[in-house]
Amino acid sequence: MATTSVIDELKKSQILELLEQGKRVDGRAFDEPRKLVIEPNAIPKANGSARVRLGDSEVICGIKIQPDRPFPDMGDKGIFICTAELLPFSHPSVETGPPGPDVIELARVVDRGIRESHMIDLSQLVIEKNKSVVGVFADNVVVDYDGNLFDTCAYAATAAILSSKTPKWEMKNDVPTLIEGVELDIPITTIPVSVTMGKIGNHIIVDPNGDEWDSMEARITITTDSNGNICALQKGGNGGFTFD
């Protein structure tokens, strides 16, 4: 994110120079992600939650589960919606207000990674077909920014979903009614893993930190499921990739 931060050209050339020597600014190998810390249930009153730190990027994801109307033509499926917001203290360059294209893309890429992996079996989240289904909302808030929010948010959302318990509703008088005291597991079919790589010069690096992020020409985010299949991918940035 942090598109408004103008990185010093000097820093940029330093990063590139180091890469030419096979080194990264923070000493990592090219294919080495930063340290990942996951704290599940960070928000106990939510239906699920996780606080995730990937290096110095930090995201909290909270899950709210509540009855909703199904989408048209999707009456036999629950709803999954994933959002993202950069909290204004996550970086000096962040501005309050409605999300810009960067944040919208971030939310949609994280959403698709989880959706396309079929992590949640949405067919089990139907209260009454065509009338009422269960909606799972995964809201990511970025607490600290240091590059690669794609993976940080993806890990937070995934961990938060895994920590979730869902209430149970039944239709009474055409209204979805909470059954008190019942808590169900969310139906999980697989665990998607997101990996984001950046391209600087001709070098591909995994999990770029904030300075690397600002120096990249292009990036690619690949989500794989538990079987090693690729289930979502997004190229970004104003450069191109060669296929090999």
Binding site: D56, G62, L87, S90, D144, D146
Partner: protein
């Protein structure tokens, strides 16, 4: 002040409240100075089940320029709740309630800050409610004071805040969510101990003039408890944990 019929016994025959507290006992309070990587100052508070993060930037330049003041610095405050912080998922757009609370907290902090020491610039206070449990504005105001101090903003004193109120015909300290819903009055107070000044004062609910007086006195006692914890949080950060 719904005043709704409720089965909850707000105060039992032994003077014990529904969450086990005495009438003049606040909920569990934990305050931590610092924590955020990118903010100039920050604080985290747990106040009962409230969990609130505050980040501060500044003094920094004002954009657009015509909003700055050549004679004095300006303070800007945003109070914001995460979608997952409350029982029903909250729409991410700022509500009228959030806008009013932002203003009330701003005006409660201004008497404490030496704005004239940094003309033409702004200090931004960003408050994020991760989990809400009644009394968020007091908890937020207390944490904001610590975050401002952590950022090194010149201040006359910190503002400590706590609510008093009335439930079961008794004046109580630190109204919790059930007491707010089923009780008779809620009065958030913000207070600067060194100058004995009240900088935030609101009341919802019905009090006789005598009860009003007692309520303010009770609230100020609570503020003084909070004030000690605010100082301890800063001491712990800057001079090591002296209590160990």
């Amino acid at each position: 002040m719904g005043g709704r019929d409720t089965e909850i016994v707000l105060l039992d025959e032994n003077g014990i409240r529904c969450d086990g507290r005495k009438v003049d006992e606040p909920r569990r309070i934990m305050i931590k100075a610092g924590g955020l990587k990118n903010a100039d100052g920050s604080a985290y508070i747990e106040f009962g089940d409230n969990k609130i993060l505050v980040g501060v930037f500044g003094p920094r330049d004002v954009h657009p320029k015509h909003m700055s003041n050549t004679d004095t610095g300006i303070l800007r405050v945003r109070y914001h709740m995460e979608p997952f912080s409350v029982t029903e998922r909250k729409n991410p757009a700022p509500s009228r309630r959030e806008i009013e609370i932002s203003k009330v907290i701003k005006e409660a902090l201004e008497p404490a800050i030496m704005l004239d020491k940094f003309p033409r610039t702004a200090v931004d206070v960003y408050i994020e409610v991760l989990q809400a449990d009644g009394g968020t504005r007091c908890a937020a105001l207390s944490a904001a004071s610590v975050a401002l101090a952590d950022a090194g903003i010149p201040m006359r004193d910190m503002v400590a805040a706590c609510a008093a109120g009335k439930a079961a015909d008794t004046i109580i300290l630190d109204v919790n969510n059930e007491e707010d819903q089923a009780g008779q009055a809620d009065m958030p107070i913000g207070y600067m101990p060194s100058t004995d000044k009240i900088t935030l004062l609101q009341l919802d609910g019905v009090l006789t003039p005598e009860e009003f007086k007692k309520c303010v006195e009770t609230g100020i006692k609570g503020c003084k408890i909070v004030y000690e914890l605010q100082k301890k949080a800063l001491t712990d950060k800057y001079f090591g944990n002296g209590e160990k």
